[in-house]
């Protein structure tokens, strides 16, 4: 993405890194509205920071539900998240003490 990543985008990346794999999961763990999360996922995919795949149809059928699209961070995404978290930490440390959860 041509611009530095914003706070909501970093939240979405962190949620994916921490194990939230599909859209609804990311909405629940970040608390962001779905109308923000899905376009953000679309942008991240477009700029090659996350990948997506459809889960195995048979697995979904076994659990009696439709298949889901899962998202995962790639190396580029990990790097962007780390850079963004550092930047956020620098900004916040100039405002208040305490560390960012994302930076860890």
């Amino acid at each position: 993405m041509p611009r530095p990543l914003g706070f909501t985008t970093l939240c979405v990346l962190a949620a994916i890194r921490d194990g939230s794999g599909y859209g609804l999961d990311i909405v629940a763990s970040t608390g962001l509205p779905s109308g923000t999360v899905y376009p953000t996922l679309g942008r991240l995919k477009k700029h090659g920071l996350v990948t997506s795949r459809w889960e195995d149809q048979r697995l979904a059928e076994r659990e009696g539900r439709p298949r889901r699209r899962y998202y995962a961070l790639n190396a580029e995404g990990e790097r962007a998240l780390a850079e963004g978290a550092d930047r956020m930490a620098d900004m916040l440390s100039s405002l208040s003490p305490g560390s960012l959860r994302m930076a860890r």
Binding site: Y22, G23, L24, S34, T36, V37, Y38, R67, R68, R69
Partner: protein
């Protein structure tokens, strides 16, 4: 519901990605529903909130291809294309300007009536109206001086409480006399409003601490410029008002006109306390005289609901303070400017006007869409080539829609001067004087832009979609010259819609016109023909008390009767329909203590000969004799009051009570329409002028012939009694009644203007459609001629099509016409909303106009050269 919404939103997503998008969202929705069913809701949003996010996601995917560069490219292209056909662009933009401008004008009025805060007032959203009511007789009424004072002292919900009352006064003396609108205010009025002066100071609490000293006045900015030439030295000088010298302490800020939306903007502000003292009343005792409108500013941190909840205690205090306040209750309404009843009426009128303006916008959009489709035929080759070069349908649609939006923008810019003009024109046709401004402000311009955008999308979407959907190969093969049957069908539908709307507007204007004619010929319970009236406000001169009113009247009457051309003269405290209306509570004497038996009846104080002069029919008993022959307090009642108090019985000889006074009924007359022509006559009581003196005097002259007495002759008769008493509002009563149908007249003018516009646009649209049809069918017409068809049959063919379209428009329009007529019901007089006369007349007009529009193209068809058309 969620699944239905997702399906609907999916239509925004480009076709190639739609299936996957829908699959993902539906899977997520099912997961969410599963979690909620099993009671796991922590962190998960509600279903509706979750699904709502699908719409921005779909829109985002749709707009993914939109870059600043591509949007700029579309804009440049659109401007280039429109510049290439200046005639089309001019016609389309002007048509749109009319539709958008009409909506802007109507919104300008609605904004001024309902939304715009009063000028020069601080934080108007924290002001509330305070009104007087009673548990047994709910109303919305004003306050007495001591009652408002008590509310100001006791109501903790308000940081300030203030009051005002408007009236007419007379400025100056002798030749420099000028009637003016006055606003009597409490000392807290300007402080409560947070108003600032332009010069000097405003009336404040200090002007109430030492009443009786020199009374003060604040000038309006307009009066200061008009009468004093904007001279800054005016502060400290004196101005005679009602024959009393007032010190000018300041000038109000420019544009400040108090809080009322309706009514004449004040020219001067005076002290209300001074007025109470000047009337000879001790202010703290004046519980029985209610004349001040109350309002307050909510204390910081107090909400409107909290203020309402605190009212019970205030109502109790008022009841304890005076016997006259039995049953009294305090009511609040948010905001100032319009009472709740006025606001409700204003909303109804605004909705009606907006609906009519919306019809006009639909019509102009249909016209513009028709023009675009007509032009699309000639651009088929251009579209075909672009498709061949790889432009997708979505891209083409976006570009064509951009052209429509640019046209709409041009129409919006052209509409701006129209809206600016409306700010000056509207007050001239509005049925009531407007104190507030109805000019354009930021809100109006934003509305204009919004309407322009909506119009652009409305008229541009369908033509863009249709035009972008062309078969490339077929278009290039045919050389891009065909019109397309689909285009023609859509254009037919658009013209039919225009004709339907035109029918509704023409029918509406016929209904309103008929109402005005009916009102003009109405018989309102008295004979209005040959009756001249004039209004005298003795109180405004400051030199007459109420008790002195009858003396003035007795000196005036002989002079009026002596005027040449006068068959009879009488004086009363109010005139039918035109003004001076007053009500007073009366009840039957046999039930003096029953609060439910009281009724607020029309109050009219008259000189003997009133009923005879006005031609009011006597039903029972007698009318008033001259004062020396009426020693006892007597009244005449109308049939409505008689049937209310003594149903089915003779009221003559019975007694009524008004305040402390008993009156004997000597006669019963037929009801007269006192307030408006559309209401039934209310219960009314007529009093003899010496027994119920008033300072409002309305002169009624029965003339021997029209124009027998001129206004200056009437003024001369009054001036001969007292030269400092002006006469205002001199008018022929029949003409005055016609003017009282003000709302009907305003709507009649507007709807007639819109109807004219609608018919013109429909005729132009129909003419264009038929003309193009003839041009496209020239080959077919040539064949018919070659096979022996005469010119007459070809004309009938073409006219027949126009007639069919007009008939379809009429059929469709009947429903719209009846709906519009029903919406206008409150303004109609003596005519039904679904009047066959109005519908038939409108249909005949429309059919005639349609045939006229088709005449020239039909003649052209009859003169087609078969050889030429077959060769081409």
């Amino acid at each position: 519901m969620g699944r239905i919404a997702l399906r609907a939103f999916s239509w925004l997503v480009p076709a190639g990605r739609r299936a996957e998008w829908l699959e993902e969202w539906q899977a997520e929705l099912e997961a969410l529903e599963g979690f909620r069913r099993s009671g796991i809701s922590r962190g998960y949003p509600g279903v509706a909130r979750f699904v709502a996010g699908a719409l921005p996601h779909a829109a985002w995917i749709r707009m993914e291809g939109w870059t600043m560069d591509s949007v700029a490219q579309d804009l440049r292209y659109a401007v280039r294309v429109l510049r290439r056909s200046p005639a089309f662009t001019a016609v389309a933009a002007l048509t749109l300007a009319l539709g958008i401008g009409v909506n802007g004008m109507i919104f300008s009025l609605v904004n001024g009536l309902l939304f715009r805060p009063p000028a020069g007032v601080l934080e108007p959203e924290r002001l509330v109206q305070i009104a007087r009511s009673y548990d047994s007789a709910p109303r919305w009424d004003n306050w007495s001086w001591p009652a408002l004072r008590l509310i100001g002292e006791e109501a903790e919900a308000f940081s300030d409480v203030a009051g005002y009352a408007t009236d007419q006064v007379v400025l100056g003396r002798g030749e420099s006399t000028e009637p003016a609108a006055a606003c009597y205010v409490t000392g807290s009025y300007f402080e409560t409003l947070g108003a600032r002066p332009a010069l000097g100071r405003l009336i404040g609490p200090q002007d109430e601490s030492a009443p009786g000293t020199s009374p003060v006045v604040v000038l309006s900015h307009g009066l200061w410029l008009r009468r004093f030439g904007g001279d800054a030295a005016v502060v400290g000088s004196t101005l005679e008002i009602g024959s009393v010298a007032h010190e000018i302490v300041g000038v109000a800020a420019e544009g400040f006109a108090g809080v009322d939306v309706l009514g004449t903007p004040p020219d001067v502000w005076l002290s209300a306390l001074q007025r109470v003292i000047a009337s000879g009343t001790v202010p703290s005792d004046a519980w029985g005289s209610s004349w001040i409108e109350g309002f307050g500013r909510l204390r910081e941190g107090t909400s409107f609901l909290e203020a309402e909840a605190s009212l019970d205690a205030i109502s109790m205090r008022l009841r304890e303070a005076s016997d006259m306040n039995e049953d009294m209750r305090v009511l609040l309404a948010p905001g100032v400017g319009l009472s709740p009843q006025e606001r409700a009426r204003g909303r109804t009128v605004s909705l009606l006007l907006s609906a009519i303006a919306g019809l006009v916008l639909l019509l102009t959009c249909a016209n513009a869409a028709g023009l675009l489709l007509g032009r699309a035929a000639g651009r088929a080759a251009e579209v075909g080539v672009r498709q061949a070069l790889g432009a997708g349908r979505a891209r083409l649609t976006r570009q064509l829609l951009t052209e429509s939006l640019v046209l709409a923008l041009a129409g919006t810019l052209l509409a701006v001067p129209l809206v600016g003009w409306a700010g000056r024109a509207i007050p001239a046709v509005f049925p009531f004087p407007l104190a507030g401004s109805v000019g354009a402000d930021v809100r109006v311009y934003l509305f204009l832009v919004g309407v322009g955008l909506a119009a652009g999308l409305l008229f541009g979407t369908a033509p863009a979609w249709i035009s972008a959907r062309r078969d490339v190969a077929r278009t290039l093969r045919e050389g891009g010259t065909t019109g397309g049957r689909r285009h023609t069908r859509v254009r037919d539908a658009l013209v039919v819609c225009q004709l339907a709307i035109s029918l509704a507007l023409v029918s509406g204007s016929l209904l309103l016109g008929r109402s005005l004619l009916n009102a003009r010929d109405a018989q309102p319970g008295f004979d209005p023909d040959g009756l001249l009236v004039g209004f005298v406000n003795l109180g405004a001169t400051g030199r007459y008390t109420r008790e002195q009113g009858p003396d003035f009247e007795d000196r005036l009457l002989p002079r009026l009767e002596a005027l040449p051309g006068v068959a009879g003269a009488t004086l009363a405290s109010q005139a039918p329909v035109l003004g001076g209306h007053s009500r007073s509570t009366v009840q039957p004497a046999e039930r003096p203590d029953d609060p439910r038996a009281g009724f607020e009846a029309e109050f009219t104080s008259v000189t003997p000969g009133y009923f005879e002069a006005l031609g009011i029919r006597l039903l029972r008993g007698r009318t008033f004799r001259a004062a020396p022959d009426e020693p006892d307090p007597v009244v005449v009642v109308n049939d409505a009051l008689a049937s209310l108090f003594w149903p089915g019985q003779d009221p003559v000889g019975r007694e009524i009570v008004r305040g402390e006074q008993r009156y004997r009924v000597v006669g019963e007359v037929a009801g007269v329409q006192m307030r408006t022509l559309r209401e039934r006559p209310r219960p009314a009581v007529y009093y003899l002028h010496r027994q119920a003196p008033q300072t409002n005097v309305v002169i009624h002259l029965r003339l021997r012939s029209p124009g027998a007495v001129t206004p200056s002759a009437l003024r001369g008769a009054v001036a001969a009694v007292d030269p400092d008493v002006p006469v205002t509002g001199i008018t022929d009563l029949r003409a005055g009644l016609a003017r009282s149908m003000g709302e009907t007249r305003t709507f009649g003018i507007l709807v007639a203007a819109f109807a004219g516009l609608a018919v013109a646009l429909s005729v132009i649209g129909l003419y264009g459609l038929i003309s193009q049809g003839v041009a496209q069918r020239s080959r077919e017409l040539g064949i018919r001629i070659a096979l022996g068809a005469g010119g007459g049959s070809l004309m009938r063919l073409v006219m027949g099509r126009a007639f069919a379209l007009a008939a379809a428009g009429t059929a469709l329009g009947i429903g719209v016409s009846v709906a519009l007529g029903t919406a206008l019901r409150g303004l109609l007089y003596g005519v039904s909303p679904a009047s066959p006369w109005a519908l038939g007349g409108a249909a005949a007009l429309l059919l005639g106009a349609a045939l006229a529009a088709a005449w020239l193209p039909a003649r052209r068809a009859a003169r087609v050269d078969a050889m030429v058309s077959l060769r081409d």
